[in-house]
């Protein structure tokens, strides 16, 4: 496995063997440990000293299913702390097959300079002038790049929002249908890519330089056994292919934990128009696709393709969190508006959650009315043009709240929460508050425990411990290059042992089950250390005050944990 180091100031590229100290660490483990070591924590996140690191997960490039996630890390312009966002689609697998462990981008070119990083089948890289693509949205960009360099390439890229260095800017990745519809969405990671003057990374998909499996036979046997576990779980095996992640709309809304109207309510009266069932029916009526394979080697098929009334492509894939942010939070019960907003975010290169919540905060401030279906589209136009108002929206909900002097901003460390009200699912509130990443559902989502009646979403008992263990688990899981849905099956009987067999067969190591947790703890420690050096304190590990002050109907409850309780979560 190689590292590719790219300096955007000198435009030099170095390929080096992955140092021994990083062996057996992939994805988020690699980005976070390296950033903590190599990036001055007090640096300007959009300046030359920050590093943008693309790291393949441990299983990327192998024949393991759902193993195409690449982690992208940097100091975040949004949270001021460390950031890792990962993206599926085709890039992670493609990078793995080139034998690339990480691409580390540092320095900063002169203003206005824009490049593309193009990889070849030998795993070498070159920088190409990208002036002609300046300001381009991602769909048009990727089409052009595919036309010029061949459509067998995976592409990671930014849109106008990234070039503007907006704090909600994402890095978009191409999916199996060659569309840039998958996002490393969070933390303004796209702004860092923009600050480096990097418009896109082009990655051939047919590489053959992945490190060979140390024990192929065991690996294949364990892969098969683990796949059977994933398929045997009704959630991953049946519900996700049928309804996609919006399968969560109905249960979370009915539990009274679906934040809507900028988190003033938790039950959305229009939920049946935007539920997983409604989405699947609409998609089928219009000749779209449910059970779509969006990521390389996916066996779960949670993706979908949404068409308009005339059967013309609108967007892929409509996810639960987007249905929530653009739907419930803005009081909009119209899948056509939601799908259009999903497309616009992908095309402009924006986090749908941060953007939807920013619009909701503006609506809550009287800027436009909740339920106004034109407002979001018009705001997207402002963002795309980079107008003064557009830049405020592009910087996310905290910037909008500040602009309107509205403290009702559902965000932690300036990053919006996801579709679980911290008062209706209090363990998710603990994760949102204490995660090293800002409010982030992928850092430790407890929804499965609530739906499975393993934990009561409203009672304090067990929440702190389970949030902690979940955060440790997610840090480890984000290092594997596998999607979280695939990783969840590790909870099945004997699955941890099976997973360890996979790792050891991949690497020739002698990991034990407890090493999984050890890796998660090590990653979180590195992240916490970086955040501390960057100046984040316990006060940043807090939910906004309104979650502790405004009782949420129908249960009429507030977030119940004290500061001291939150400060004890990461007790390792």
């Amino acid at each position: 496995m190689n590292f590719i180091r790219v300096n955007m100031n000198t435009k030099t590229i170095k390929v080096e063997a992955m140092p021994d100290e990083y062996k057996g660490i992939g994805g988020r483990g690699l980005t976070s440990i390296m950033i903590n070591k190599e990036v001055p924590a007090s640096c300007d996140s959009l300046g030359p000293d920050n590093k943008l690191i693309f790291a393949t997960g441990m299983f990327c490039g192998t024949n393991m299913f759902n193993s195409s996630r690449v982690s992208i890390g940097a100091k975040s312009p949004l949270t001021g702390g460390i950031k890792e966002a990962n993206v599926g689609g085709t890039s992670g697998g493609a990078l793995g097959k080139l034998g690339i462990g990480a691409i580390i981008v540092d320095g900063k070119p002169k203003a206005g300079d824009l490049s593309i990083l193009k990889l070849d089948l030998e795993g070498n890289a070159e920088l190409i002038d990208a002036s002609e693509y300046k300001g381009m949205r991602t769909y048009a960009l990727v089409e052009k790049l595919h036309a010029k360099y061949g459509d067998k390439n995976a592409v990671l890229c930014i849109g106008p929002a990234g070039e503007y260095m907006m704090k909600s800017a994402s890095i978009q990745g191409s999916d199996t249908d060659k569309r840039p519809c998958r996002a490393a969405a969070r933390g303004g990671i796209g702004a860092v890519m923009g600050s480096k003057g990097l418009k896109a990374v082009i990655i051939p998909q047919n590489g053959k330089k992945a490190d060979p499996l140390v024990d192929k036979e065991t690996f294949n046997e364990a892969t098969k056994a683990f796949a059977a576990l994933v398929k045997a779980n009704p959630f991953e095996g049946e519900l996700l292919p049928a309804f996609g992640t919006p399968a969560l709309v109905a249960p979370v809304n009915l539990m009274g934990a679906f934040p809507c109207y900028n988190a003033t309510k938790s039950e959305f009266e229009g939920w049946q128009k935007i539920s997983g069932e409604a989405l699947a029916n609409t998609i089928k009526e219009r000749g779209g696709q449910t059970g779509h394979v969006g990521c390389s080697q996916c066996i779960i098929r949670c993706s979908n393709v949404f068409n308009d009334k005339n059967g013309k492509y609108v967007s892929s894939s409509i996810e639960y969190e987007t249905v929530w942010a653009m739907g419930g939070m803005c009081g909009i019960d119209d899948l056509d508006v939601i799908a259009r907003m999903d497309f616009l975010c992908d095309d402009i290169g924006l986090d749908t959650m941060n953007t939807g919540v920013a619009i909701a905060v503006a609506m809550d401030s009287g800027y436009r009315k909740f339920g106004d279906k034109n407002a979001p589209i018009e705001i997207m136009d402002e963002i795309a043009k980079g107008t003064e108002m557009g830049r405020i929206f592009g910087d996310g909900p905290s910037a909008v709240g500040k602009h309107f002097n509205n403290p009702r901003v559902a965000a932690v460390k300036n990053q919006s929460i996801a579709a679980y009200d911290p008062r209706g699912m209090i363990g998710n509130g603990v994760t949102f508050a204490t995660s090293t990443m800002g409010a982030d559902h992928t850092a430790g989502n407890m929804v499965a425990m609530y739906l499975g009646h393993i934990l009561d979403p409203l009672k304090k008992e067990g929440q702190l411990e389970n949030s902690r263990e979940n955060q440790i688990f997610c840090a480890m899981a984000d290092s594997m290059g596998l999607c979280l849905f695939a990783m969840y099956s590790i909870a099945a009987p004997d699955a941890k042992e099976m997973f360890i067999r996979l790792i050891n067969a991949r690497l020739g190591t002698s990991w034990k089950v407890e090493d999984l947790r050890n890796l998660g703890v090590r990653i979180l420690k590195a992240e916490k250390e970086f955040n501390k050096k960057a100046g984040l304190t316990a006060k940043d590990d807090r939910l906004p005050e309104f979650f502790m002050k405004e009782p949420l109907p129908p249960h009429n409850v507030v977030f119940p944990f004290t500061d001291a309780e939150l400060d004890g979560v990461h007790n390792f």
Copy 2:
């Protein structure tokens, strides 16, 4: 609430107020406690001293959702012990609305005598000569009865199998589409009805004599809250309406617990042709119905309507256990054969499980080949005609095993297991062995705990205790008149308290949460007492030997519990 006592010998009918001692006990609680008290345990189950009791559940006749199940109890000609089988559709709600707590049928008419019991809106009953319906199958019978007496009536009836007093004979109930496609299937309860010379019970659906709710406001509020819990569970709220109970085919098969080829294997190679997804797709292609409302006041919609290739009705509803019994167990991967067999069982009046397993035992004995798609249909013809061979098959798998001298009969107390191999889901094996009802998945199914990774299906730890508590829970649940899927939501936080509010608002009682378990224990004790008096011993609480002797692939495990462990399950 009234009791209606019907003597088939004297053809007399008495209506009496429900005795105080039975107040607050419905459904299975009522049938089991009364049978234990009133039926001589040593009696001939097909003789005059046995009683056939139809008892409404506690919520039948109210506006509570999914509250249309009626329990039917007797001494079982199949197991030799006590039996309760309950059925959904329209009858339970209709009986409840007439203010009927139970119909108790005893005595025995002279041979060849056949009657119909017809209820009126006052809750009175009359016996009508039914000679003209002799030998009729249920679909034609119900059509005739609806034509003659009005199609707003719910009907409970038997087919030829019940008239022949076969030990797999069911009592069929009409659904919301007026079809006799719902079954109180188990224990040969239809044979007892046949022995009483009772062809059908006709029940007007528009009764207005249900006991009024004591606290209507609380009842309605708690009903709404409990409904929200049911809808909020992805299994009940999304998976069942999308795929019906065959949603279980994929996960159980992938776990290696789907008994096939007469339980010689546990992974059926043709599972994808008979899975919930395949079924839903086939149904939709042919203009059938998924998410069908088969039972009165149902909010779950697990039912379906299966059409043939020409869009013509075949059967409703295709259930998981039938897909297994007629499919996997017989090595048949053809939904058309399975649906046809489902219809024939309903039409002739037979338990699909006992019948499918009987056919599988015959195939395992070389009578016909596994996978032979004609064999089951031909066997059904023999059963319907009541030939000598047909009578053996109609008496179920133990009779077939005895005939072919084949001990590989997956049954306990002569009643077939359901679609969970006792070696692949060992807690289900504990339930099958120790249930008072013979092998019965509705007596304590653990599959949800296995799929939720709460319990390991292959490890002994926790199985005995969980089977016990599940059996207690099911005895209680079967007394409520609600379907088990609705009852499962009682595991949600605060749901038990909510359910107690419902009971107290219904009855004006002051039940506490622990009274739910107390009721379950009381019922099981009565059932055990009856079974003991009837001569059943600990030796009857055993699985057939082959489950302890033949390791089941792919896990290559046998059922691991000792006799002493099984004997300790009911330690109350």
